[in-house]
């Protein structure tokens, strides 16, 4: 206990000491971004080489939880940047008034949609997809309808749209592709759904255990197994309906006491130095392809025929209806 207090005391002293020397830029992001296996450490190093500042990355919850955290702290927040919201959340985030427009020079983004948002700036993106093991599943479904028609013992694991970003993505994927028929698609999928997990980690863990034949993840997931583990057995099933996109964005806060530094960070975020870190640490497509191109292995990934996405405004509107349909169909 004494040591604990001592350590806490030292932490306070240490952070006070640093604060006097250099300006501190505080970035709220999700846990896996700041973890030692995520992009955080490399990003911090690269930015601090150019900014003469201290970049303070803080893991403050995933996706929606990150936004809730900002709403909780309000204008008192220490955060200068929030990094890790996606387009399904930006409308709600905008309405809070906690975020301010960026002002950086022109960037040309390699995001497959036209980008006009003046507050939120993308840093990476990906497609949701069902990932499977080629050695276990030889005959992967090619659409939601063929998944419905597949033998009953083909099981998938998905995430709960009420607690997970990919889960919400699947909800909007089916809603965008099927509109009013979404509910009957869910009814058809229901017997194939082994279980619904709280978050991505649980679902992916169960898939790797061999419990389910397919798991809701990203088209880029097989790249991890290929590049980091030299295992080419995982693949993403390409669906005829197209694949729903997730675009991850960052924004500076209206309450930031370092607005110039925050803009400098956003500008850095779209530079090659930041973007080249993304593919093999966050396992997503970079928002601006780095000069040297994508890492070897990414060319093996599937490219969806259609990129599906609803605008931030519509996402907020159709979310509740889609959730009700999901609840009804799966409760039967």
């Amino acid at each position: 206990m004494k040591n604990l207090l001592l350590a806490t005391g030292l932490t306070i002293l240490a952070s006070a000491g640093l604060a006097q020397e250099k300006p501190v830029l505080t970035v709220y992001t999700y846990d896996s971004f700041v973890s030692d296996w995520g992009p955080g450490p490399a990003v911090e190093k690269a930015f601090e080489q150019t900014c003469n500042c201290d970049l303070n990355l803080v893991g403050a919850g995933d996706g929606a939880a990150l936004l809730s955290r900002m709403q909780l702290e309000g204008a008192r927040s220490e955060a200068d940047i929030v990094l890790g919201l996606d387009t399904n959340l930006t409308e709600r985030a905008r309405a809070t008034g906690l975020f301010a427009p960026y002002s950086i020079g022109a960037v040309s983004l390699d995001v497959p949609v036209e980008w006009t948002d003046d507050i939120f700036l993308p840093y990476d993106w990906g497609y949701f997809a069902f990932v499977y093991d080629k050695t276990r599943l030889t005959d992967a479904p090619t659409s939601f309808t063929s998944l419905i028609d597949a033998p009953k013992n083909l099981k998938i694991v998905i995430q709960d749209p009420r607690s997970s970003t990919p889960g919400l993505g699947l909800l909007l994927w089916i809603k965008t592709a099927y509109g009013d028929e979404a509910e009957s698609i869910w009814t058809g999928l229901s017997p194939h759904i082994l279980t619904v997990t709280k978050g991505w980690s649980e679902a992916y863990g169960m898939f790797l255990e061999g419990e389910a034949d397919m798991v809701l993840s990203y088209t880029t997931s097989p790249a991890y197994h290929l590049i980091a583990e030299e295992d080419d057995s995982k693949a993403a099933a390409s669906f005829d309906e197209g694949h729903y996109m997730q675009i991850e964005v960052a924004a500076k806060t209206a309450s930031s006491d370092q607005p110039e530094l925050a803009d400098q960070f956003l500008s850095f975020m779209t530079s090659s130095a930041f973007q080249s870190i993304i593919p093999t640490t966050n396992w997503m497509y970079p928002a601006v392809f780095p000069l040297e191109g994508l890492p070897k292995g990414f060319e093996t990934l599937i490219t969806p025929t259609d990129s599906l996405i609803v605008s931030a405004k519509d996402a907020e509107k159709i979310k509740d209806e889609a959730l009700q349909e999901w609840l009804t169909a799966l409760s039967r």
Partner: protein, 528 residues
């Protein structure tokens, strides 16, 4: 003369009152804090009511099954002596303290579609098992709570003095008579509390219900709170749901305390019980088979965690070790705090029970409150309290320590309070008739009899704290982590192998802490 109420000492009032205040602050206080920030959005929808119904139903079934199997298991452990019994009893703590996600993967390895049981069925041409859904939730809850039920009930059995069994044997009582005369009254006193504890645990379980629940049919109140708080930022709804959980808790607590009748065994010499009953051959075989099945049920998932984790144990990333140190420090500190709080609270409850029975019973119910508290609400409420004054990130470790202590307080209280009641009941009068000072009485008569439950309670608190992800996830800066948090971060970064290694390390560290504290008290009577 002996029954005349003594005035409450100031120490009792202040220590007990302080514990009570801390408990109320973290449970109801945090709900009020969340409520204070709320702008009313919408009431409860049909989905919320469905969640409430499902939550209650699965908790009732899970608690009933856990206790129903726990009673014969505890009896078998109480009346048999065999090599490895001590180890078996110690290991019973293991499933209970596993972090949800580790346990789920362990259970799947045994019961899943590609698990051991399915493999055996498959060898005989059967279909693979499908546990997902209602049955999966109950299975996982029984896995977590059967050991707890067994240990709580076993404590009751071991509290029956040797002299009673000896007398029963001299009177020529058969096994059935012993059950009726000695064991049944004990069960009446112990089982309701155990049932309540497990019922409440199942109410607030979150990760388990979701991972094995199958879908929206298996939605719990805790998920609804999570969604309201983290996804919709609907603070008023979160506060309402949290109050519903407290309401459920209070109603159940009142019901069980009303059913429970205090046991009134005379006090014995405190020698280890020897049993003269239950020696019929059929009963011995029955006990053996039961213990074997329970051990298989509880330990096969653990073994699969060991098998998966062991290869990665030597190549763990270096970040794991500081987080292990953090976790162990937090666990030890919160175990000490939790036992101190429960001793203080128990003393106050017992002190009050002589003159103000209602107040004392009310306090006992409050002692359960933190079980029904949602960690998300506590975390958010604390954040609202603290953020204007201090940097919550800097205080992450002390906050986690205090919250963990309060979260394990109901267990510690349930273990310590009945024992303290018993000893005070018998030795309190004796002590005052001998004119003993309170402290002398405590040191000579009460503390030696409390050591065993206090050790068990501290071990349980420490282990619970080790495995808890709790509020640290809300407060921790990236360079500060506990072991469960590190494991989640690894899993989110595709590092499943390393996460398995950390899971094993976590189980080992929790068990080591549990064992170290529990050892002080041992299971057999050894009071001289």
């Amino acid at each position: 003369m002996a029954d005349r109420a003594q005035p409450l000492s100031l120490t009792r009032v202040f220590a007990g009152g302080g514990a009570l205040a801390l408990l109320l602050l973290l449970t109801l206080g945090t709900v009020l804090a969340v409520w204070s920030k709320a702008t009313f959005q919408q009431g409860l929808g049909p989905a919320d009511w469905a969640a409430i119904r499902f939550t209650i139903l699965q908790a009732l079934v899970s608690a009933a099954i856990s206790v129903a199997i726990g009673i014969p298991t505890a009896r078998a452990l109480a009346r048999r002596r065999f090599p490895g019994r001590q180890l078996l009893v110690s290991l019973l703590g293991a499933p209970f303290i596993l972090p949800g996600i580790v346990a789920v993967l362990g259970i799947i390895a045994v019961w899943g579609r590609t698990g051991y049981v399915s493999a055996v069925f498959g060898a005989f041409g059967g279909e693979p098992l499908n546990i997902y859904g209602y049955s999966g939730v109950v299975l996982a809850h029984v896995f977590f709570n059967l050991p707890l039920a067994t240990r709580l009930i076993l404590q009751g059995w071991l509290a029956i003095p040797l002299e009673h069994f000896r007398l029963a044997a001299q009177l020529g009582m058969r096994t059935g008579d012993v059950s009726r005369q000695l064991e049944w009254p004990m069960l009446r006193a112990v089982v309701p509390g155990a049932f309540l504890l497990i019922f409440l645990l199942c109410i607030t379980s979150f990760a388990v219900a979701l991972a094995l629940g199958g879908g929206p049919r298996a939605t719990t109140v805790e998920l609804a709170i999570y969604q309201a708080l983290r996804f919709d930022f609907d603070l008023s709804k979160a506060a309402v749901l949290a109050m519903i959980q407290f309401g459920l808790c209070t109603v159940t607590a009142i019901a069980t305390l009303w059913i429970a009748t205090p046991q009134s065994f005379a006090i014995g010499m405190g020698r280890p019980p020897r049993r003269w009953d239950g020696r019929e051959h059929a009963l011995v075989v029955q006990d053996q088979i039961l213990l074997l099945l329970v051990a298989l049920f509880l330990f096969t998932p653990l073994i699969s965690i060991i098998i998966k984790g062991a290869p990665n144990l030597l190549s763990l990333p270096s970040q794991v070790w500081p987080s292990l140190v953090n976790s162990v420090l937090i666990a030890i500190a919160s175990a000490l705090l939790a036992t101190t709080l429960s001793l203080a609270l128990s003393a106050l409850i017992i002190g009050l029970s002589r003159r103000r029975k209602r107040t004392s019973q009310f306090m006992e119910i409050i002692g359960f409150l933190s079980l029904a508290a949602s960690p998300f609400v506590i975390g958010t409420g604390l954040f609202i309290f603290l953020n204007p004054y201090v940097d919550p990130f800097v205080w992450a470790l002390p906050i986690t320590m205090v919250v963990n202590a309060v979260m394990s307080l109901p267990f510690a209280l349930r273990i310590i309070l009945p024992e303290m009641q018993r000893t005070e009941h018998f030795y309190g009068r004796l002590g005052s008739s001998l004119g003993m000072q309170r402290w002398t009485l405590f040191r000579l008569a009460i503390w030696p009899r409390l050591k065993r439950p206090v050790g068990f309670a501290a071990g349980l608190s420490a282990a619970l704290s080790m495995g808890d992800l709790g509020v640290i996830a809300l407060f921790a800066p990236p360079d500060l982590a506990t072991l469960p948090l590190t494991m989640y971060r690894l899993m989110a970064a595709y590092q499943t192998g390393a996460a398995g290694g950390v899971a094993l390390l976590l189980v080992a560290a929790s068990l080591a802490l549990f064992w170290a504290f529990d050892r002080g008290g041992r299971l057999d009577h050894h009071i001289r």
